[in-house]
Symmetry: C2
Subunit: 877 residues, 2 copies
């Protein structure tokens, strides 16, 4: 028997979403439970996949099945498509497994042609209705299927309205509409070089193909990438008998939600338009009225709808978003689906459904999109204040939240102002590591240059600070402490406001309100914590970050990058002195200056974390990153260090690397300069012992050696660490526990994890570098070609945002298995940026990691994602 | 029972080389077959490993075993160590599994002290002999065990000789020698701060430790790395009863070979020194005499030695290198081993042993070190002419062979001179891709800057052209066409000579003689070809290279790098035009100019290869490599292209990459600019059809897509290739077979090889890049830390020279298995530089590759290595 590609609504149910798409499955389900749904059938997502496999053609066997199912709904309705006396009309709508904007719009009234329109007029006794339906069909078909510009049709409609003094579409008479139809068909002929198709079967097949085609339009591809939807899912097509909301004043159409999608409040919420077809509501041509109006107009229909809505919410056990049409006083349901909602509403609805006994905690936790939490964790503008403001420029929405403060153009100035108690916004051409402190103290950061992975964007996201990056309308004159924003001059100390969630820039101050992480948010998070198996730690380089993360529920620090501390203007001179040292002795002298600073950093973090585990990664970046590049800075450094400028330049030149990513960095630094690892070990252990003495907390530092690719490399550095730690403990007359582990971020480390685990006491997957090495492209350079890769459907998602489970994930799995072969129960985590990405968190759960670590603002996201993973893929704690 | 660490000679045999070391195993074997060997025992290599595991101490249980075995040889000899009347003396010698220069020298006469020396004098009635032995022992012990400088002892000896008018050591009297001993002991006290040790057991343990320690001295580490000897083998220690060649004129010592190690001629060849101890022969203090002198002095001992030599050669079935001592007319054998020999001798001996019925062809093939063949493939200086010449400077021996020609300072001048029929040597500060043609036409290349992996060195090795690189004594003034070499001015057109095997530079012409690849060389190669399973192809970018490789036995081209062709000055303008094009149309116009050139390149190679397979890799390097960097070149290019200089600079800047190795290159270029792949496909297929028409050869091009990491990426490019190929064949009205495959050089490609194999028709392992990505360091940058890694014993061999079988090899094995799961019997090869490295060839054989591909001059090496692999690890053809 041939494979089944087409299903009558009555053959399906809500479970068949993968095959029938969301819309098709729900239409089937509503039919199944006896709600009034017009007859129809669904062409499955498999048919879409097959369409692409067959070189964008619909196979004859599928055409046959469509014909056969069309015959069945003709039978059910007692009407035939194209019948000149009493034609069956159908709608054609796309419906993928997940809701996808960018997909094909609906086509209504398909089946009309020059003859059947007359039959429809005669049969309904409503000529105006018949021609209104026909002109709508021509416009939709031309726009959606044939890609003739919509505006050209609207121009005709406007012209006819004007010619006839009609204000609204509804003011047009049957004759006016005949004129519209005539002109529409002329336009079609002119644009397409052929007559508007009269054969309803041709119309139908063209519409079906258009749906399939729309699966692959550029907007859909981008949407899928941003929302982790695989390209091979395909879309289904729903073909449904028409019902008409435009037959007169006992007809209408509308949409409704069972609860308020903005707040989650439990009350029917919706809109309604009398004597109209579906797209009129959505398109905003006429202003719809609140659903209460339906109660006035047709109370019995309203009551029936309220009951239906309740049935549906109970049935789906979730807030429903419904489309309906009333034809001559009779209610028809055209769609239901779980309604989209704001993050705040999602939390309230999930909690309410638990309280109402409709959902378990497990289910409630799974109802929230973890990524949506982000919007709740940052300050927002006061809505009233915002309404009065107008954005003057828009940059990249690089780090979410709202900010408002006085403008400063250098990190030093921002720090000074902030110390005076001012709220500041740092405005820079672009930021560099030297700006860290100024970024830290500011409410927001605005840069003229740089993309979503620029320094400003990455660091701001890490800090949870609002950032608008790469705003081309900003011209910065740092020297004169002034900038222009879209032509307006803004001086140091002037107020501006930034919206990091939209990229908008405002001149002047807009009041902000702080984030709130209590109430429903807290209830959901508490449930998530009960359920999850994965621990959630944070990446934090400062006590401030660590404290923020703790507030968001972090259970430890998974990554402290010790190098970030050295970019501080107070410290970088000693760091530079260390780098340009010519002998071990000189190097040790410079390191001795860094030791107390580094120790204080660690003490600060230990104190905040109060006995929770803290993982400290040893120096990672290539040393040249710390050296100046500008001539004047080089001259100044040479003077400071008592060196000849040329001598210093030669040192800087000797540190140049062709591929810094694959150069002298990570543990390679500790191998060549073991004294660096000694200093860092001393700082880690002395700090731990001192904090233990001062606070009584047991501090368990986890020393993490980066960029290991070979067991002997790790052993060499570990030997230095252990020898130093033993010495320090002897000096201090105290013993503490500590661990020495490694990052798994080099493919060879994953491949030889059984060996590495002989020395490493824990693994932390550094998936940023691991992704770079496994794919063989650097994040900094891949921007130049990745867009082309998305467009050409070679990659569907950004491997730096979401773990590539096929390649990188295979290495991770291998490393987990090999590592635990050697060291059963070995502690393993992830500290790459993927640690805060929900799909990656799920993957980490599945392969058996113990924890994920992410930036403070992603901690709640990771907690929720971990709970969802635990519910969906149970695994022992 | 305790683990056995110590073996009497009579407990061992030749098979126990891994445990007893080469020397120990052969001493045991000689004892076993009844040859006269002084009693002794061997402390195993396991004891050495244990010594390092135990933190450089000898475990008590091993000390016990040593004591017990010492007691046994005391019993055998009827003498005791340290006996004041008749002391047993012993020698202590290192002996690793493989012969290793840099290891500890021999210590003789151990057991002597102030008392036992008197006993020895009394017992032998030879006071002079006793004190001679003692002074030798003090010097050897101090030098070798305690690291007191040898020269200080020699100064004392010279002083005493001068004071007493002695010319030779043998002229010194017993009293003179007592004086030497006295002063030696004073020196020891001064240097070491303690008396020379008198306890023979203390002497013995110190000597044994010194042997273990010497396993890890820097010279030994370097030697192991260069010779692929693992660091964990360890060395054995041989403790043997002394026999004395210095008791008078019926005594002596010597070394001998059973065949001439320089030519392989079958005749006893050796040296002999009367009344001397072993080190006198080696140290060259007295000039030894030919072994024929022994026949005169002691004919019956000579006859016994000849017979012994014959027994040993028959027994070991190989040319032997022996050490012997005659004590009072009695012959003792102290060592035998397979003798080192020149490459030419190795070939002759192997062939002769087959002819003499002593060895099979399989064994003969395995007797030759494949790497040694290199020296036979290049021109050499005429030995007589060389004797008269003096090197004025020495650089890096970057590419072997001898060269002699007139100096030119630019590639253009060298090409012009070469076209006039001159022999040229190209002298440059350093070379760049623009110099290729000038390098090609020259006999040799000399650069002032750059290391073993500099452009000059890498390209010259590929071409098989002699190259001396990084010669610091050369100052080049390119502008004035003149240089100085170690102070001497050399002008354009002057003659110089280079030895690429030693790095020597000579002023003036030294006659060279061409390489010879016939005779024994050909016999061995023919046998190798019969035996091997792996095919051997070559990496060749030009017809000249291809022809050279064919002469050396290549069976096809495994890699043609299409980009090298575009660095030619005639072509680079069109390439640059293509790169700076702003539209696809402009790009296609520039590509159209490149097409005929590229096609001619391919036709040339196809014709040379005469129907053998040719693998063509599509454009690989990042485009910025083709653009000029010097201001003047940029200005010139802008003028050529009709661009503003700033515009061109902006384009160049936009192509800048942070990590070019991981940037926009390989198939990523073909994804963004498919028209490049179209042009290259057209050139490949048109050339194949035209050559087929012109010559009748069936050409099977293998199109190879580089840097693939994802199946869809390969599919995208393959679709372009196939569509273009079909179009070209239709245009030409002819069909040819061709394959589309991929490099496996990105870890992700190896990890997903089952997927990749759905599209790839063959795999070629690009182990250069695969090594870089798997280790996470770039070859260009790793130089800065790799030396430290070798010194610290983290890496034992250069992963770019020898495939890292543990990490990279694991990926390769995985890719082979996964690929053939999808495509059984899939053709797989290697085209990284490892393809010409014997140990890597063996690995490729073991994992089941079909071919290796290497530079032309490595083809014979690969053929031989492949045969050895096939003999040692049989596998079906």
């Amino acid at each position: 028997m041939a494979h089944k590609y087409v299903y009558l609504f009555k053959e399906g149910n809500a479970e068949m979403r993968n095959l029938l798409g969301g819309k098709g499955a729900n239409l089937a389900e509503m039919s199944r439970i006896g709600l009034p749904v017009p007859y129809g059938f669904t062409i499955s997502t498999e048919a879409c996949t097959r369409y692409y496999e067959d070189g964008k053609t619909i196979a004859p066997e599928i055409v046959e099945q469509i014909d056969a199912h069309l015959a069945m709904i003709e039978e059910q309705n007692g009407k035939k498509l194209g019948d000149v006396n009493d034609p069956l009309l159908v709608s054609v709508r796309s419906g993928a497994r997940a809701s996808m904007p960018g997909m094909m719009d609906t086509i209504l009234n398909l089946g009309l042609n020059d003859e059947s329109v007359k039959g429809l007029a005669a049969k309904t006794g409503n000529e105006r209705f018949a021609y209104d339906s026909y002109r709508r069909f021509i416009q939709m078909f031309s726009d959606v299927v044939m890609e003739v510009e919509k505006s050209k049709f609207e121009a005709i409609l406007d012209a006819v309205k004007e010619e006839n003094g009609a204000k609204f579409d509804t003011d047009l008479t049957a004759d006016n509409l005949k004129e519209v139809v005539k002109r529409y068909k002329e336009l079609y002929l002119k644009e397409m070089g052929e007559e508007f198709p009269q054969d309803p079967k041709v119309q139908l097949m063209a519409a079906i193909k258009a749906v399939f085609r729309s699966w692959d339009n550029p907007r859909a591809i981008v949407y899928r990438r941003l929302n982790d939807i695989p390209g091979d899912w395909g879309t289904a097509v729903n073909v449904q008998s028409m019902v008409f909301g435009n037959t007169g004043n006992r007809s209408g159409t509308g949409v409704a939600f069972t609860r308020d999608p903005a707040t989650g409040e439990k009350k029917l919420f919706g809109e309604y338009l009398i004597n109209a077809q579906g797209e009129d509501v959505v398109a905003g041509i006429r202003t719809p009225q609140p659903i209460a109006k339906l109660q006035e107009d047709m109370p019995e229909v309203y009551d029936q709808f309220v009951e239906t809505a309740q049935i549906l919410e109970k049935h789906y056990r979730d807030m429903q978003d419904m489309e309906y049409t009333i034809q001559d006083g009779k209610l028809f349901m055209l769609q239901t689906r779980n309604g989209k909602r704001t993050a705040a509403a999602a939390l309230k609805i999930a909690c309410d459904l638990v309280d109402e006994g409709m959902r378990t905690k497990e289910e409630a936790v799974c109802m929230i999109d973890p990524k949506s939490l982000d919007s709740l964790l940052h300050p927002t503008f006061d809505p009233k204040a915002l309404k009065a403001a107008k954005a003057v420029a828009t940059g990249l929405a690089a780090s979410p939240g709202a900010a408002c403060g006085r403008v400063y153009f250098t990190a030093e100035d921002a720090v000074a102002a902030s110390e005076r108690g001012e709220k500041t916004v740092l405005v820079r051409l672009e930021t560099s590591p030297e700006d860290i402190e100024g970024m830290h103290c500011s409410e927001g950061i605005l840069t003229a240059r740089g993309g979503m992975t620029s320094h400003a964007a990455v660091v701001a996201r890490g800090m949870g600070t609002c950032c608008v990056a790469g705003c081309g309308d900003v011209r910065v004159d740092e020297e004169n402490h002034v900038c222009t924003i879209a032509g307006t001059t803004v001086k140091e100390g002037d107020w501006i406001s930034l919206d990091g969630s939209t990229g908008n820039v405002y001149i002047g101050a807009i009041e902000t309100k702080p984030a709130e992480v209590s109430g429903n948010f807290k209830r959901i998070m508490d449930w998530a914590d009960e359920l999850r198996v994965l621990q959630v730690r944070t990446n934090a380089d400062t006590p401030t970050d660590a404290a923020k993360a703790l507030e968001f529920g972090a259970q430890g620090v998974g990554l402290t990058r010790t190098e970030h501390m050295f970019f501080d203007p107070d410290r970088i001179p000693a760091m530079r002195e260390m780098i340009v040292s010519k002998t071990e002795e000189e190097r040790r002298k410079a390191l001795a200056k860094l030791l107390p600073m580094q120790k204080e950093d660690f003490k600060g973090i230990y104190k905040v974390m109060a006995g929770r585990p803290v993982t400290i990664r040893f120096l990672d970046p290539p040393l040249h990153e710390f050296l100046p590049t500008a001539e004047e800075d080089i001259v100044a450094l040479a003077a400071d260090m008592g060196l000849e400028v040329d001598e210093l330049k030669a040192t800087i030149a000797s540190l140049h690397e062709f591929n810094p990513m694959m150069g002298h960095r990570g543990c390679r630094l500790a191998v060549t300069y073991p004294e660096i690892a000694e200093m860092q070990t001393r700082a880690v252990i002395e700090a731990a012992i001192e904090v233990k003495e001062e606070t009584g907390f047991d501090i368990l530092p986890e020393i993490m050696i980066p960029l290991v690719g070979e067991i002997k490399e790790l052993k060499y550095v570990k030997d230095v660490v252990v020898a130093t730690a033993e010495k320090v403990m002897e000096e201090k007359g105290d013993k503490i526990d500590y661990m020495v582990g490694t990052m798994i971020e080099i493919p060879r480390a994953a491949l030889t994890a059984d060996e590495i685990a002989k020395e490493a006491e824990f693994f932390s997957f550094g998936t940023n570098d691991l992704t770079q090495m496994t794919f063989g492209f650097s994040r900094d350079d891949a921007g130049k070609f990745l867009n082309e890769y998305y467009t050409k459907k070679i990659y569907e998602s950004d491997p730096f945002a979401r773990v590539d489970q096929i390649g990188v994930g295979k290495l991770m799995k291998m490393a987990v298995e090999l590592g635990r072969q050697t060291r059963p129960g070995m502690k393993m985590g992830i500290c790459g940026e993927h640690g805060g990405d929900p799909s990656s968190v799920e993957f980490c759960h599945k392969i058996g990691l113990n924890y994920v670590s992410c930036s403070p603002f992603r901690v709640p996201i990771a907690r929720l994602a971990a709970a969802q993973a635990a519910v969906n893929f149970p695994r022992e704690k």
